[in-house]
């Protein structure tokens, strides 16, 4: 390259070479991908409202019935055995997804334990809790795709950096991606 060639021209040639070597997807395919993301977010937002309303209603009923409910026994009830089975990817898919609240995050060295309160998507309706609650212990570096958690802008985080935000009760909803061996590859904020 001649001495007089400027950096901008070099970069321009490089960019143009790259541009000429790719075949972008059709716009409608990109829109379809965006629509899927949008529908998922909308569905889960609706579920958050519905579950919150149920929680409020349930709390009210519990308070009203306090006088009639006997004291719980002294023995600490053991949690029911988990019915959770890691989902398997469908044929041709790289990952299988689990929708659920992620909460009660606890840092454990280089790992993070989270509780997942599973939700089930309902066609044309509001996702509902499945009753399945399980825990996952994941590396701190597990990638997490956030949106509301990052102030309304898409961002890529690591699970270890979100422990504080996810330490409380069920609030944040995620799609959890499992590979074909049942391992979690990543989390994506869904609501």
């Amino acid at each position: 390259m001649a001495d007089g060639t400027e950096l901008g021209e070099l970069l321009g040639e490089l960019a143009e070479s790259g541009r000429g070597r790719v075949v972008p997807m059709a716009a409608h395919q990109v829109r379809a991908r965006g629509e899927r993301r949008r529908r998922r977010a909308r569905t889960v937002r609706a579920s958050v409202v519905a579950v919150f309303a149920c929680a409020l209603l349930g709390g009210g009923i519990a308070l009203a019935g306090t006088a009639r409910v006997p004291e719980p026994g002294a023995a600490t009830p053991s949690p029911p055995p988990s019915r959770f089975v890691p989902p398997a990817p469908a044929p041709g898919e790289e990952y299988a997804g689990e929708l659920g609240y992620v909460h009660d995050a606890v840092a454990q060295g280089d790992r993070v334990r989270i509780t997942v309160r599973q939700l089930r998507a309902v066609a044309g309706g509001t996702p509902v809790p499945t009753g399945v609650v399980h825990t996952l212990t994941l590396p701190r570096t597990t990638p997490v795709e956030t949106f509301r958690l990052s102030g309304g802008r898409p961002a890529d985080r690591e699970l270890g950096g979100l422990v504080g935000r996810l330490a409380g009760g069920p609030r944040w909803t995620f799609e959890i991606d499992y590979d074909d061996e049942g391992r979690v590859a990543s989390l994506r904020e869904a609501g």
């Binding site: 390259m1 001495d3 007089g4 060639t5 400027e6 950096l7 901008g8 070099l10 970069l11 321009g12 040639e13 490089l14 960019a15 143009e16 070479s17 790259g18 541009r19 000429g20 070597r21 790719v22 075949v23 972008p24 997807m25 716009a27 409608h28 395919q29 990109v30 829109r31 991908r33 965006g34 629509e35 899927r36 993301r37 949008r38 977010a41 898919e93 790289e94 990952y95 990638p143 309304g152 898409p154 961002a155 890529d156 991606d177 590859a185 990543s186």
Partner: protein, 183 residues
């Protein structure tokens, strides 16, 4: 996506988005290629960023700079280094037949290797300023950095590139490219 002067309506939004995508996807892939040095990765993250742009098109209306928004999202995806191979876009690309494309020119390989040796912030500033022709204040706005920091990134980035390319056929002439030339 609705830009100033565009009539509202779902179909028109699609047309507007498609026009925006068609006009800018190649340019953005080229820019991200210069930033990342990985063409396939650049295509993936740019297309994923456009998918998010469609998903969040209402926010883009308010933002008023859709191409910068897409570039920023694509850059964040790229620097995450998590290789979002799980995305449907990536799967679709990898399942399709490999495109017949010419190999990169040798001097482009040299330049990419040199760019890869720059710290990410310097590389991004250099590309935004010298390839995207953004003035320093707009580079600062897009990167969320103070103007002074951007100037430091540019200066150090050019100096490093000049050193790395000194013994090659490429010489960007770093000392002849003050920030003021671009604003």
């Amino acid at each position: 996506m609705r830009l100033p002067g565009e009539p509202s309506g779902h179909v028109t939004g699609e047309r507007e988005f498609d026009a925006f995508y068609g006009a800018s996807v190649g340019r953005l892939v080229g820019q991200l290629y210069a930033m990342t040095g990985d063409l396939a990765e650049s295509q993936d993250v740019v297309q994923e960023a456009f998918a998010r742009a469609w998903e969040h098109r209402a926010e883009l209306d308010l933002h008023g700079a859709p191409e910068a928004w897409v570039r920023t999202v694509a850059w964040r995806l790229a620097v995450s280094r998590w290789r979002r191979v799980r995305t449907a876009l990536t799967l679709a690309r990898r399942q399709g037949p490999p495109p017949v494309v010419p190999p990169p020119e040798p001097h482009h390989v040299v330049l990419v290797e040199a760019l890869r040796q720059l710290p990410e912030a310097q590389r991004r500033a250099v590309v935004l300023h010298h390839l995207c022709d953004l003035p320093v204040d707009r580079v600062a706005a897009e990167t969320g950095s103070p103007v002074g920091t951007v100037k430091v990134h540019l200066s150090r980035g050019r100096a490093t590139l000049a050193r790395l390319l000194a013994h090659t056929e490429l010489d960007p002439g770093a000392d002849r490219l003050p920030e003021g030339r671009h604003g």
